[in-house]
């Protein structure tokens, strides 16, 4: 006998479908409920602990504030919503504020003396988790400034509000860059330059501040070769491309900062940097904290306070050389732009300066301003004005021996020597020609006599 199949009984197929639908309905409903829950979770994915909720019960109040000894008003408001949206939303309040004793918290006068003091004391809490970043920060110009006693250099919380801080990936470019809080003029200039304009470009985004300067390990931009190597990290073919058209391109890369040509509207100048000793291990001279020798000595050498002249510079160099003991103190010249704002006016490469005469001719603009610098204890340059004539003086042959630019820093005395040789030679030859002309009769007589003599023989 043939076994009956479902297909052979259409009514049973219909029945099975109906049963399946009835059974599936509650499941579909449950699924719809899960989706709603997910939606809820996306806004408040993290459940706050009871004790955190207790903190926020008071602190999620925009009017909550306290008066500090310094006279400043410290807002104590923590927005629950912002905190939940921050990267720290999985931390509990006590993870960072472990010093708070719940028994007497909020009772009486705050023990915090100033906002600065709070920032400094709370940095320890950041270090507990962010050890690597803190190590980078400790080597930065910001940390060195604090070591020197700066009240303005930023600590962690000055850049990152710990209660609202968002992931680098989801924060917009503006939000991710707190640098503008202190470096406002540079920040504004940078927003309009070729990098700033490409900041929101999805395909090829321009670098943010930290892209070039490093966020935590930021150094004085003018130290060493500046941030040239950072430029080359992205513009990898730049060195090769320059080689094609720029004679001696390596030398240019060494002695000229990128914005000198790539920020065509910037003001340029010559920076004569002091270097320790001779030989391969030459180091840019770094002043020690609490020993203001550069400023003191440069001022003492500059008798008329109108900038160091060639002899004054030579004298100053000798003084530094005496200190070093081994090898001579030398200067290395470098062309750079005059300010951070100038350095952040980078133009499209089609507008970059490629006319050699911008620098290579007498009286060229970048050589009208000259400074002598030594790196300060924090790496930032300490400056003293130098008279521009130093670059063309014979006395600078030793003091500024490492800096020579064809055409513009030529030694004037050699020009006079060339004129003297040419005029002297031409004059001498002219005298000789004149004398030959004056003696022509005597020569003719002598020749005639010689002919007569030979004839008579």
């Amino acid at each position: 006998m043939k076994n009956p199949t479902i297909a052979s009984r259409p009514w049973s197929l219909l029945l099975a479908g109906m049963v399946a639908l009835v059974l599936a309905f509650p499941c579909m409903q449950a699924l719809a409920q899960d989706e709603d829950a997910d939606e809820d979770e996306s806004s408040e994915a993290i459940e706050l602990e009871e004790e955190d909720l207790a903190c926020l019960e008071c602190h999620d109040d925009p009017t909550l504030e306290t008066k500090l000894e310094s006279g400043e008003t410290l807002s104590l408001h923590i927005s629950t919503k912002d905190f939940l949206g921050s990267m720290h939303n999985e931390n509990s309040c006590a993870d960072c504020h472990y010093e708070i004793d719940i028994e007497d918290h909020g009772q009486g006068q705050s023990t915090i003396t100033s906002k600065r003091e709070l920032g400094v004391s709370m940095a320890d809490a950041c270090v507990d988790c962010h050890k690597k970043k803190y190590k980078e920060y400790n080597d930065s110009v910001h940390a060195l400034l604090i070591e020197e006693g700066s009240k303005k250099a930023p600590m962690c919380a000055d850049c990152h509000n710990p209660h609202t801080v968002k992931s680098w990936e989801i924060a917009g470019p503006e939000e991710a860059m707190p640098c503008g809080k202190c470096h406002e003029d540079i920040f504004k200039a940078s927003a309009k330059d070729v990098h700033g304009l490409a900041r929101n470009d999805k395909e090829n985004p321009g670098p943010l501040c930290s892209g070039c300067h490093k966020a935590h390990g930021v150094k004085a931009a003018s130290l060493g070769s500046g941030i040239r190597d950072t430029c080359l990290d992205c513009h990898k073919d730049a060195a090769e491309k320059h080689k094609v058209w720029l004679p001696n391109s390596e030398r240019h890369f060494e002695a000229i900062s990128c914005p000198v040509c790539h920020a065509p509207n910037a003001q340029r100048r010559v920076n004569l940097r002091l270097y320790d000793g001779a030989g391969a291990d030459k180091q840019q001279m770094l002043e020690k904290t609490g020993v203001p020798q550069f400023i003191k000595r440069a001022k003492a050498a500059d008798a008329d306070e109108a900038g160091l002249d060639d002899r004054e510079l030579l004298g100053l160099m000798k003084e530094f050389t005496k200190d070093v003991g081994v090898g001579k103190t030398v200067v290395r010249g470098r062309l750079e732009v005059s300010s951070g704002v100038d350095a952040h006016q980078l133009a499209d490469k089609s507008k970059a300066i490629s006319d050699c005469k911008t620098c290579h001719q007498s009286g060229a603009e970048p050589f009208q301003s000259v400074i002598l610098t030594m790196a300060g204890p924090d790496g930032r340059p300490l400056r003293h004005e130098v008279k521009k004539e130093v670059l063309n003086s014979l006395f600078s042959i030793d003091s500024v021996k490492g800096f020579y630019v064809l055409g513009s820093t030529r030694i004037k005395l050699l020009d006079y020597l060339l004129v003297l040789v040419v005029v002297g030679m031409a004059g001498g030859l002219l005298v000789h020609i004149t004398a030959r002309w004056l003696f022509r009769r005597a020569r003719e007589k002598r020749a005639a006599q010689a002919r007569r003599d030979s004839g008579s023989q």
Partner: protein, 217 residues
């Protein structure tokens, strides 16, 4: 007057190539140093041309060196090293150019293929070719690639010292060239020596006695 073959063909080719190269170097050198004061060609082209001309004259110099050192012709450059002999000879030559030539006296030096330079020339050329030229090439090469040769540049006192030596030498070359060009015109006629450097033959005045012999012959 009779002709003697003084300048072999390789020497003539070398001389004119060298002349061309040196003129190009002086012109481009002045253009590099004085860009803005005059602008016949661009600074960049002047630098590129100066570099090429420098290597060209350098290579030509090496040809000269091999030609003279690997033949006995180097003797023409050898000055009289005995001061007792050299100074009177030198003095006679200086006296001739300063005074004798005005009065129509005979050049005390007689050109021969084996000794084609007078004492003044031999000493000057020796200094120019064996001291000034190599020094100019060396400083030029250092300036040409100052990054690769940074160690040597520092050792010698820095870029500014090298550039100053290079410029001082070029001023010496300008002075030498001016004198050279003038003395070239002091042959028996204005263009005689120049013609000699083209044809290879110098026209030399006959000795009084030998000319009589020739006339008789």
């Amino acid at each position: 007057m009779h002709k003697i073959y003084i300048h072999p063909l390789p020497v003539r080719i070398w001389h004119w190539l060298n002349a061309l190269g040196i003129l190009l170097l002086i012109f481009t050198g002045l253009q590099i140093r004085y860009a803005g004061l005059f602008d016949v060609i661009s600074f960049r082209n002047a630098v590129v041309l100066h570099n090429w001309a420098g290597f060209f004259v350098g290579a030509n110099f090496l040809l000269w060196l091999f030609f003279y050192f690997f033949s006995d012709r180097i003797s023409v450059y050898q000055p009289e090293l005995n001061p007792r002999k050299y100074f009177p000879m030198m003095f006679r030559q200086v006296y001739y150019y300063a005074w004798g030539i005005l009065r129509g006296e005979r050049n005390p030096y007689r050109v021969t293929p084996a000794a084609k330079f007078n004492p003044m020339q031999a000493m000057t050329y020796q200094i120019v070719m064996l001291v000034l030229m190599p020094l100019q090439f060396y400083t030029g090469v250092l300036l040409w690639d100052s990054t690769s040769y940074a160690g040597q540049i520092d050792m010698l006192g820095g870029l500014r010292v090298i550039a100053t030596v290079h410029v001082l030498l070029s001023i010496a070359f300008v002075g030498f060239l001016m004198t050279h060009l003038y003395l070239v015109t002091l042959g028996h006629s204005f263009g005689a020596h120049t013609k000699g450097m083209i044809t290879g033959y110098e026209e030399v005045e006959d000795e009084p006695s030998s000319s009589d012999d020739a006339a008789k012959g």
